[in-house]
Symmetry: C2
Subunit: 688 residues, 2 copies
């Protein structure tokens, strides 16, 4: 239940309860403006409007083929008589939470205004447990910390890794989505929805009173938003339930976004891919072509005069191997990073003209490789690292997309590593928020799908712009190579980062010892069992899934690799069976294009035991289940590759007792029995 009121001095306040328990205590709303009176107090209510919506819509891709959008709406018309300005606040209350946004109608006394700070409060019911990362204007690539709110101030220094671009702003600043658990038993999640042409919101905690307040990302001049009436803020979203599984099953963020903006979406397809990537991330191979060029000027380059270092992965022969592998195993695409000139000198220098997105290295046969891939039913995936030089990217964007059209690319992985040019702008400011969506809508004109890395965290915009098929915007698998992720990391991400949209987490690493990937390394370990790597394809929902390891490693474990080949990337229905943030997640999903079900479970350091009832199966069918699970002695660090595969018949009465090792997990494919012969050849599944 949501309550709205004005205080005695005319401040808008709201509070939220769930089944009689406090979720958000009375919290004030409003804005501080630059060179103008604040919009905080002195309001009166000019009127209210109530509405109800109950509709069902079909996403282009998703965890479910149908989504119900059911809410009660309260629109409060406020005015501030002293300044003759109007501000509306629209609330929507769902079964699993609520959202609100500010709406400024067209009016005489407020046309253009500059936001000094949004002052939206979220007063928490006490010193909650929280899974948080440090607030930062430029990166989200941090590990989550589980702590009481009161502990954030003491833990934040240790929660911040170094990054090529980072700007921590407050000792109690955190990012959204943040997952909380109150002592009254409520799980509470705070995020935003439909972030369009507005600065990304962080939360700053008053840790005396346990009140979060919005803290927007500033521009180069320190201002936090340039708005023109009529204008709406993004939605501020609160997901609430006493069951952690509801956090994961919630569609509240998607529902708060606008319907699809495109008439034709037939060109948007989920993608399973491999790529020329992990061998550079962890294996010592290079994006670059030569070591001869300490300073590259693209318009003065002549690679024919340089000595190739021989470590350039994006060469024609190597890419052909990946294409062959993709074709053989049914992957849609092959990502190739390092295909274009400029990588000798791309990062850390705030370089303006860093890439042209057009010119391949001399050893990368752009037309030939695309033709070769297409002849095998595979596409190459484009890569646009911008090095955060955004003007340069926009200058080349149309031509770059045209190049993709010409050679038959239909998806691009983009990257924004380093400090933003225009200088002084931040990754999450209004200027860049505008850019990321521009890249997506311009891509749509070319029927291109976008997977933006180092971009602003998603806020459900994939509903409106479903060619935004992925984002990084969190700490992905690459960090397993850099410094390792904690075993619990992927049991937090679905509660937090994934609230806004899919993540290109790039799972599927089979070789955990990085010194075996690159003999020149002396350390490096992927903190996961192999079985858990399979489970991630189910637990980390995305229409874009990479098998990130190198083909050599898959060829050593083809029985386990079978699950990656089999698992769909689009779903008819998803059921969260077990969940606790930072501990474990178990989910079952039904193939959107078939009758098969796929189950994934990931566990943190503590491991996890599941007692699964397969009552979600069709009672009129018999199924073949293949269980990929940790061996009894498996352990994410000491024995990560110990797995077992068990196969047998199941039906909707079947109950399975399963165990995930520390940092482990399991994956199950459950497909209808094809014919009587198959049924006879198999026994009822009995797990050992």
């Amino acid at each position: 239940m949501l309550d709205f009121a004005l205080t005695a001095d005319g401040r808008p306040t709201y509070s939220l309860t769930c089944d009689g328990k406090d979720a958000i205590l009375p919290s004030t709303l409003g804005f501080e403006l630059v060179k103008a009176e604040p919009l905080l107090a002195g309001f009166r209510i000019d009127g209210v409007e109530n509405a109800e919506e109950d509709e069902t819509w079909q996403p282009v891709w998703g965890e479910n083929s149908e989504i119900r959008n059911h809410y009660n709406e309260l629109l409060v018309h406020l005015s501030q008589p002293a300044t003759e300005r109007k501000m509306d606040i629209r609330f929507r209350v769902y079964d699993d939470g609520a959202g609100f946004r500010y709406e400024f109608p067209i009016q005489d006394k407020l046309v253009y205004f500059v936001v000094k700070e949004e002052r939206s409060q979220f007063a928490m019911p006490g010193d909650c447990l929280a899974w948080w990362i440090a607030g930062d204007y430029d990166t989200q690539e941090y590990e989550y910390t589980e702590s009481r709110l009161s502990e954030i101030r003491h833990l934040i220094a240790g929660a911040v890794d170094s990054n090529l671009s980072q700007t921590v702003f407050s000792p109690t600043g955190v990012q959204t989505s943040i997952q909380l658990k109150a002592d009254n038993g409520l799980y509470i999640n705070l995020h935003e929805a439909a972030l369009v042409d507005y600065s990304c919101m962080h939360l700053n905690l008053d840790d005396q009173n346990m009140v979060f307040e919005s803290w927007l990302t500033p521009d180069a001049q320190g201002n936090k938003g340039h708005l023109q009436c009529p204008v709406k803020s993004p939605w501020r979203a609160i997901i609430v339930s006493d069951d952690a599984r509801d956090m994961l099953a919630s569609n509240l963020i998607l529902n708060l976004n606008d319907p699809c903006a495109y008439d034709d979406v037939s060109w948007i397809k989920p993608v399973k891919y491999v790529g020329v990537w992990w061998e550079m991330i962890g294996g010592g191979k290079q994006w670059s072509y030569t070591f001869d060029l300490p300073s590259v000027k693209l318009d003065q380059l002549d690679y024919s005069k340089t000595k190739p270092h021989g470590q350039h992965s994006a060469n024609t022969e190597n890419v052909k191997r990946y294409i062959d592998f993709a074709a053989e195993h049914g992957f849609d695409q092959v990502l190739v990073e390092g295909w274009n000139i400029g990588w000798e000198d791309w990062s850390g220098n705030e370089k303006d003209y860093v890439f042209d997105f057009l010119t391949p290295y001399p050893d990368f046969d752009l037309p030939g490789l695309n033709a070769y891939a297409h002849s095998k039913g595979v596409r190459l995936m484009m890569h646009h690292e911008t090095s955060a030089s955004v003007r340069n990217y926009e200058r080349h964007m149309e031509q770059a997309y045209q190049l993709m059209d010409k050679y038959g690319y239909n998806s691009v992985k983009s990257g924004y590593v380093g400090n933003i040019i225009p200088r002084g702008e931040h990754h999450y400011g209004q200027y860049m928020v505008n850019h990321y969506l521009y890249a997506v809508t311009e891509a749509a004109k070319h029927h291109i799908m976008v997977n933006g890395h180092e971009a602003v965290r998603p806020t459900g915009l994939c509903r409106t712009y479903p060619n935004l098929i992925g984002n990084e915007s969190a700490r992905g698998t690459e960090y397993e190579s850099f410094v390792g992720n904690t075993p619990g990391h992927t049991t937090v991400l679905p509660f937090t980062r994934l609230q806004g949209g899919p993540m290109d987490y790039t799972p599927g690493i089979f070789e955990m010892d990085m010194t075996k990937v690159n003999p020149n390394r002396t350390s490096g370990h992927v903190n996961s069992t192999l079985a858990r790597q399979l489970a991630l394809y189910v637990t980390m929902y995305s229409p874009l899934q990479m098998a990130a390891d190198i083909p050599d490693h898959y060829e050593q474990f083809m029985d386990a690799f079978q699950f990656i080949k089999d698992v769909p990337v689009d779903w008819q229905e998803s059921r969260y069976l077990e969940a606790e943030p930072g501990r474990y997640i178990t989910v079952a999903r039904k193939d959107k294009n078939g009758e098969g079900w796929y189950v994934g479970c990931t566990a943190a350091e503590q491991g996890h035991e599941s007692a699964l009832a397969l009552d979600f199966l069709d009672p009129n069918r018999q199924y073949v289940a293949t269980v990929y699970s940790d061996a009894a002695d498996a352990h994410y660090y000491d024995n990560p590759q110990a797995y077992k595969i068990q196969k047998g018949l199941v039906d909707n009465k079947t109950k399975l007792a399963l165990k995930a090792a520390p940092g482990g997990g399991y994956a199950i494919s459950i497909v209808p029995v094809a014919d009587q012969a198959e049924a006879k050849a198999l026994k009822k599944l009995k797990l050992k």
Copy 2:
């Protein structure tokens, strides 16, 4: 003569003399860097190289059809042993001055660096007289002040008018080009040449020692340049002579620029034009279409639901009148401002998506008007006001140029009114310097000529990129409508602003009383005689010349208007006959495409008397001279429209005594006698 040396502590210094007189006293050179040791002292000379050049080149358009580039060069290779960094300084010494630039070769210990400040000194020979405008990161639209250097500090507050975007930075900061006159009789001019991907240089005066030092324009973070080796600074240019006419005749700035970068220049043509402009600037007409829209969002606009205010000048009927007028009187083009949607709400709000450069107002028939113009041998001139929203302009630029291609525009007037977006950047910073040239080189791909207003001051780049046919970058005729220019303004501009390239000054105003232009006005006066308005077509060299007044006013003075119709916009030869900054300028120019000569003289408040010898004429020809001069009682304020026209035969022995009124001038056309009949019909010219 130029001397170079290192001081005892290894500081590079230079000095310059002219015929034994000091022009620049010993001055140090170098850089302060961000987060790196300075490049100021501790240098040693690793070697020097001498060279000489004497070539003649042909500009695509210009004051002369051939330009001699004759210099001695000294290249000094410096290194700083303590940091193992190298810095070269290249000097070029001409008969009329010198230039130097910094060159950083490719090297190990200096690849990327950030400039905190360039420290190039110009130590003046005493407390010179100077014609200066206040240093400003965002505007040059100031009146010149004539004062001693020591007086700048006391006069600067009064020298700064308000502007929609302005950032004065120092009480002794001035802009280049600055014209100086030393007590030793030398005229000295300081400017820069070939400003490419570098911040525009101002000069800050140490007025205890009369030493100017470079003061670059900062970026949004306060840094002054992001450089990558190998890299060269722009040239720092010093023009010196004891004859003021040599300041105007100098080609030093052009010579310091690179040769033309385009293979094909056949599409670049000088342009004489009229335009839908002055009626809005001064006449109360509107760029906008309606008063109904206090807040325009281009993607939500529907003009059909608004009430036109009826004052929109860029309407089909009115533009046709201008096309007819242009065709009748032999003009090449018709500028139309206010043709595109968005002008209701374009300025002062730092609005991002302010124009699309594509969509005409409902009353502007874009295809029809272009077809009508072409049928009469006239083109429309495109107008791109960016409102300084530079990202938005770059996003639309290619489509905007394509629109021009489609309808047959071949020139564009662009504008940058207001504060720059990206926010915190300045009009004259490296980011924008890069942009202005990008707009020019992208235009060249479409065979489009560019006339940029509110852009950085030109530095001779028109030699390299001759489709940059004009710039504003100073206080133009529009200020005559706003608050008036001083009568001496146009006797300073050729010494200062025009050193870098032509100005779209938009002369030709015949009605000086602005209350007659717009009856709703109560004040406003153009501080010039009518005859001087004619002279400006000769004294203010430009390949792009507007007849800026409205057709109605020209139709009242068709005899005087004849000079504007006759005067060429491209020249074979130019001879500066008389000159003193802030007092008078008299120049004779020969038509590039004919045998005629055209003389112009402009005078300041004091008026001017000339005794002209027409010895530049071909001794074997007889000519018809038409003299357009101030009447005896003419005065820029009290009696500006009093002019007389006298016609007669002249030859190269003729001497003419001419008089310019206060704020007046004269214009003469001198064309070969066509035939004997004409010669008989005329008498020898005798001026009254």
